[in-house]
């Protein structure tokens, strides 16, 4: 399948009072047409920064793209001017934010907020845009859209607001949708509804989705492929099956073991000890080495290259080197296969 978005060796840094923080350190990713790619990792792993870099929404002048390319539709997004980028944002690539309580403008009716993008990108008149806004609200499952379109965000519940945010994001039929933790701020019961809605709309509109999350349950439910990020790098990528059933990276093992599940033999929930690396002073070796139960001397000194395990699975870990001792994944993964 053809790639709709390709990220090549992306480096992003923030300049802070404490010095340079290397939030993203050489990320390679591709997104295929119509697929959902999940980027998972804990806070500070660089997943949100990667997504904001695609949208070019990084705070200026604190953040800068140090190097790398983001290819979309034959254009390198990192080279576009702000004006050119504005044409792409919201029409070809759009974004769903984490917290629907704060991502809508409280003083503007939701109809107007949906219409803004339509009027800008599709040059619709006021009446047409309003009509389209009502259709969109209907599409995302908001009852009585003709009346709701005039209302303000505070008159909607959290779940309903997230539906509005989705309507705004999908207003112009974008080719790529970036969903940054779209359900984290919602009640569990609402989460499933929103995920179903997204899946449903993806089928209707053939949108490719980049799903940023730390919730592996969401990944299992939504994604076809997964990229695991740690310390500003992608440590393992693969299909959902590969990541859940044949993971090779100890960090992925850790993530999977720390995930609660219903039918597991053990009751314990395994945490990964330690804290993520300080990216203002990034480690020269594998960023996970200090927390890795299988760390070797080489891990501390050198960053491993990717080992291609299948057409779709790549893992950066020294354990896959022929000289490394054989290490079995924790029992919990070997036995159960996580999540599904």
């Amino acid at each position: 399948m053809e790639n709709i978005l390709e990220i090549k060796d992306l480096h992003v840094s923030f300049d802070t009072y404490g010095g340079e923080v290397q939030a993203v350190r050489g990320v390679n990713l591709e997104l295929k047409k119509g697929e959902t790619l999940a980027i998972v990792g804990e806070s500070g792993s660089g997943k949100s920064v990667t997504s904001k870099t695609i949208m070019r929404l990084l705070p200026k002048p604190a953040a800068r793209i140090k190097s790398g390319e983001i290819w979309f539709n034959g254009k390198d997004l990192t080279k576009l001017s702000e004006k050119e980028m504005q044409k792409i944002r919201g029409s070809e690539i759009s974004m769903i934010f984490q917290d629907p309580m704060t991502s809508l403008n409280p003083t503007m009716s939701i109809g107007k907020q949906i219409m803004e993008g339509l009027r800008k990108h599709q040059k619709l008149g006021k009446q047409e845009a309003l009509q389209r806004a009502i259709e969109l609200l209907d599409l995302v499952g908001i009852p009585n859209p003709e009346a709701r379109v005039k209302q303000y965000p505070h008159q909607f519940s959290g779940g309903m607001r997230q539906r509005v945010v989705i309507a705004i994001a999908l207003a112009c039929n974008p080719k790529v949708l970036i969903a940054d933790e779209p359900t984290t701020a919602l009640d569990v019961t609402i989460q499933a509804q929103i995920l179903d809605l997204m899946k449903d709309l993806q089928n209707k509109m053939q949108t490719s989705i980049i799903l940023i999350t730390h919730d592996l349950g969401v990944v299992a439910n939504m994604a076809q492929r997964v990229a695991v990020m740690y310390g500003g790098k992608i440590v393992e990528t693969g299909t959902v099956d590969e990541i859940f059933y044949r993971p090779k990276h100890p960090y992925t093992w850790g993530l999977l073991s720390s995930m609660p599940r219903l039918h597991s033999k053990t009751d314990e929930l395994l945490a990964i000890p330690g804290t993520p690396p300080d990216l203002s002073n990034p480690p020269k070796g594998c960023p996970f080495a200090p927390r890795c139960p299988h760390a070797m001397k080489v891990c501390v000194e050198y960053m491993p290259d990717y080992t291609t395990l299948s057409e779709t699975q790549k893992t950066a870990c020294w354990l896959l080197d022929e000289r490394a001792p054989k290490v079995e994944p924790p029992e919990i993964i070997a036995v159960g296969g996580a999540g599904k």
Partner: protein, 309 residues
């Protein structure tokens, strides 16, 4: 909403009553008599005058009479201006103060918002620092110091502008600026804080993610929402300016209500002091009330919350 308004009106009435009572009884505590040339008056004359103005009756009776008259819109007569009704004097002087105050307010709003928006948008640049230096000076330097400085430099020393009085447009320039500088600074500071706060909100990023142009994000989303807190400070500020700022009218010899008030205080002109105080308080309370209602119109969140409370 209706219940909220009724509740607010009740508060306003209670507040007004407290103010009227407070003013009335403090006037009675004043030493001396309120009459012109009091040194020359014999005790008999004073008694006669007291009888004439009803000042010989017991205090509660006087108070009830005053409140009764007040409700009819009668503020009594000035002792100093040969028995002219207080309402007439206020009616004559208030328009001058309102004119001056309005012009200063316009200056304050235009330049204050402009400086605040620029500073908020270009945070930590020369623009920001420049605007905030102007704002700190404006907030800090008392208007009477600034007014004197300007009067001396532009009028006394260089004769570019008239020294005082309130006649042609040229006479307005110095007082307007002297009075407007404070509001410029206050509004600029509030607006900057509000802008910085708003620009950090998620919905601004969301608006950018929609592909809106920078001016559209700035004006439709950021500035509009930043104006909400400004409304609360602008209301009372406008009343303060329009009901006469004592020192500016004093310095530039402008025949406004503030200038009148100072004179009344010196001369123990009770009805005048009370009338001016009550008029000022009514204006203040009513404007604060209107601002609160207006707040609801601008910020849809309050509209509902106000209705529920």
């Amino acid at each position: 909403m209706g219940r909220y308004i009724v509740q607010r009106i009740i508060y306003m009435i209670v507040t007004m009553f407290v103010i009227v009572a407070l003013t009335f009884f403090s006037m009675k505590l004043l030493p001396g008599t309120p009459y012109k040339n009091q040194e020359k008056l014999s005790p008999e004359m004073i008694e006669l005058l007291n009888h004439k103005y009803g000042l010989d009756k017991p205090l509660p009776v006087q108070f009830v009479k005053y409140v009764g008259d007040l409700l009819k819109g009668d503020l009594g007569v000035s002792f100093q201006f040969d028995g002219r009704p207080v309402t007439e004097i206020i009616g004559e002087r208030l328009p001058v103060s309102a004119d001056l105050g309005f012009e200063a307010m316009v200056i304050g709003l235009v330049f204050g918002l402009l400086l605040g928006i620029i500073a908020g948008l270009r945070r930590n640049t020369v623009w920001d620092y420049g605007s905030m230096i102007v704002a700190v000076i404006g907030v800090s330097v008392p208007s009477f110091v600034l007014a004197q400085l300007m009067q001396y430099y532009f009028a006394v020393k260089h004769h570019w502008l008239p020294v005082a009085y309130w006649e042609g447009p040229a006479y307005h320039i110095l007082p307007d600026i002297a009075l407007g500088f404070g509001p410029v600074a206050t509004i600029a500071r509030y607006m900057r804080t509000a802008m910085v706060d708003t620009l950090n909100q998620d919905y601004i990023e969301m608006a950018r993610a929609k592909g809106l142009s920078r001016p559209a994000v700035t004006f439709k989303h950021a500035v509009r929402n930043s104006l909400i807190p400004i409304v609360t400070i602008v209301g009372p500020m406008a009343v303060n300016l329009m009901t006469g700022v004592l020192v500016i009218e004093n310095i530039f010899a402008i025949p406004g209500i503030g200038d009148q008030f100072v004179t009344s205080v010196y001369t123990n002109d009770y009805p005048m002091i009370m009338g001016t105080t009550i008029m000022y308080s009514v204006a203040f309370i009513v404007v604060v009330f209107i601002v609160d209602l207006l707040y609801g119109v601008i910020d849809p969140r309050i509209r509902l919350a106000g209705g529920e409370s």
